[in-house]
């Protein structure tokens, strides 16, 4: 995975596989503390302690039985390359939270990448799931909630090509507004 936005897309796929109906994505660029936190929280079916352990071991799971793919070990490696870490909180029936931290200005910290494209992909392909995305950078932040957009759309699907194009541009401008 080239950048963090691709990891976010991959984490969300795990949440969807776990039957999540609510997924919260948070990117917190805490420049004062020189830390970047990436959090994906879902209300899916969760994992037992053994499954959590297995999920972080790329060689433990097999394709036919795995709940998550290589994605989590890849993210863990990306975090550790930037002197950060990956935490996995989960309980069966309670959903899962993945928290990846990175040293913000570390040379090997992967760039954020194109979050507008990741969010468009998630929102256009998953009409029945609710997403919240919050991005904070220093003092500025914004939040996007798929439910609010769906209310505005009143039944017109988010995978409508014109709507999806609007959404991507909308996110791109919000992302830009965080830059000083």
């Amino acid at each position: 995975m080239r950048d963090l936005s691709l990891h976010v897309l991959d984490l969300v796929q795990n949440s969807l596989t776990a039957q999540a109906t609510r997924i919260e994505i948070i990117i917190d660029e805490d420049i004062a503390c020189n830390q970047l936190r990436l959090i994906v929280r879902d209300n899916g079916h969760g994992m037992s302690q053994e499954q959590c352990k297995a999920a972080l071991d790329p060689f433990y799971t097999t394709r036919t039985t795995r709940k998550v793919g290589l994605g989590l070990p890849l993210l863990q490696a990306a975090a550790e390359r930037a002197d950060g870490s990956l935490q996995l909180h989960s309980q069966l029936g309670q959903g899962t939270t993945v928290i990846a931290t990175f040293v913000y200005d570390h040379l090997d910290r992967a760039p954020l990448g194109d979050m507008s494209l990741t969010l468009m992909t998630i929102i256009a392909l998953n009409e029945e799931c609710c997403f919240t995305y919050r991005h904070r950078r220093g003092e500025r932040e914004f939040t996007i909630c798929s439910e609010e957009l769906r209310q505005e759309l009143a039944g017109i699907p988010l995978d409508h090509p014109q709507i999806a194009a609007w959404f991507r541009e909308y996110v791109r401008e919000l992302e830009k507004s965080l830059e000083v």
Binding site: M1, L6, L9, D10, Q13, T17, R63, G69, L70, G71, L74, L117, T118, M120, T121, A124, L125, N126, L149, E152, L153, A154, G155, I156, D159, H160, P161, Q162, I163, A164, A165, W166, R168, E169, Y170, E173
Partner: protein, 119 residues
């Protein structure tokens, strides 16, 4: 600046268009979004598909996703279902292939055999 007002306008024009073509089975496109698909560029492939559908005013195509299909080396994988026809699976669908698949297969109904990996 993109505003919610723009979104409402798009919604209203989209609704008018949809009334014109209600009923009938939809064209379906399924894209592989497993870790292997994402790493191979499935997100960019989807963006190209959406852009091409927008350019050609094809607003009534259902797009969904699937996980790893076991053909990881052929990702990004794209399935096309035309109404009444069996599935056609294309492999290594980059942005350029995606645009051609929309034009040739989805619009003209001609399968691009050389990129088919399964059907």
């Amino acid at each position: 600046m993109k505003s919610l007002e723009d979104l409402r306008k798009l919604r209203d024009s989209a609704r008018q268009m949809m009334h014109l073509r209600e009923g009938g089975e939809k064209i379906r496109i399924v894209i592989g979004m497993g870790t292997c698909g994402i790493a191979a560029g499935a997100r960019e492939t989807l963006a190209a598909i959406m852009q091409e559908l927008e350019r050609l005013n094809l607003f009534d195509v259902a797009i969904t996703q699937t996980g790893c299909a076991g053909l990881c080396d052929q990702e990004p994988l794209v399935d096309v279902f035309l109404p009444g026809q069996p599935r056609v699976t294309y492999g290594q669908v980059d942005e350029e292939r995606a645009r051609q698949i929309i034009g040739e297969h989805v619009v003209n109904g001609r399968v691009i055999e050389k990129w088919v990996v399964e059907r």
